[in-house]
Each structure stands twice: as structure tokens, then as C-alpha cells.
Symmetry: C2
């Protein structure tokens, strides 16, 4: 089965950068320990006023692995504290 890519852009209000990153790091610590996690890169915009201040791009072994990882109560208790709207979706690479 082909690996898949999670892309999650974060909309961060001015002054909320650190609050948002603190919870992101908790989620990241959890996700990197899960079966099927391959890699991730967190991107911060050069322009602090960009529509999406942070974008996480992560590679997972499969959709099933990712869905198992986020279905736990432990993960839900982390992400429900995220103070910034974010729009996670799963992707495949169609041009490389």
C-alpha cells in the first residue's frame, strides 16, 4: 500500500503562535510514537501575517495507520485544546 500525506494548514491569530505550537508539539510527540508514522515537517510562514502561519506536512504508511493513530482518546484530548483553526486532510502525490 502506498504511503499517504497529511497536510494541515493552521490559521493563527496574532499573539497565538506559541499557544498553538505548544499543543502542536504535544500532538506531534504522540503521533511520532504511533505505528505507521514515517516523517513530518512543520513549516512556518516567512510573513507572520500569512493566511496559514503554520503548515504541517506528514507522511504515513497508510490511511488505516493514520486513522488508527488519531482515533484514540489520548489524541482527541490533545487536539481539542488546539486554540487555532486547522484543516487537516489526507493527500496523495499526483505530480513529483
Amino acid at each position: 500500500m502506498e504511503s499517504i500525506v497529511l497536510i494541515n494548514p493552521y490559521q493563527v491569530a496574532a499573539g497565538q503562535e506559541e499557544a498553538c505550537l505548544a499543543i502542536w508539539r504535544e500532538a506531534d510527540d504522540y503521533l511520532r510514537r504511533q505505528d505507521g508514522f514515517i516523517a513530518r515537517k512543520l513549516h512556518a510562514s516567512l510573513d507572520p501575517g500569512a493566511r496559514f502561519r503554520f503548515v504541517n506536512v506528514a507522511v504515513w504508511r497508510s490511511v488505516v495507520h493514520f486513522q488508527r493513530a488519531i482515533a484514540t482518546a489520548e489524541f482527541q484530548q490533545i487536539v481539542e485544546r488546539l486554540p487555532c483553526p486547522n484543516f487537516p486532510s489526507l493527500y496523495q502525490i499526483v505530480a513529483d
Copy 2:
């Protein structure tokens, strides 16, 4: 100088996928010929109803190279025909 990452999420109305991709390909053909272009991956969402149907993630040698590439009349005449709202910004990788 460190390389930088362009991330561009595309909001695509139902039925506009091909129209959006056709112009994206024109822009892509142009950008890949420009000085400072390193690589790009176009991602398509597994869920056709995802908020961002396509996300382009491209690596450029520097901000200056990217800005020179998009400042031309040739590029502007391509992107002004894009039928889908998109939100390009430049990023640095802050966790890898």
C-alpha cells in the same frame, strides 16, 4: 542562503478540478524553467470534498529567486486565469 518552501492550497469548486489543473500545469511548466527552482510536489486530497482539493509544495533556492520567477508578465498572464482561489505563501521548515 537557505532554501525556502512555497506552499499553495487550492480551494476547488466541484467540477472545477480539470480547469484548475490545466492552468496549474501551465504555471508549473513555466516555474520549473526558472532559475532557483529546485523541486515541487502536487498533492490531491483523497476526499474530493476536502477544503483544499490540491496543495502544491515547492522548494526554491531563495526568496529572491522565487520572487523574480513570479514577477514576470508571462507568469502573471498564466495565474490570472486560475479559476480556483489559492493561498500561496513562503515558508521555512522549523521542525524536521
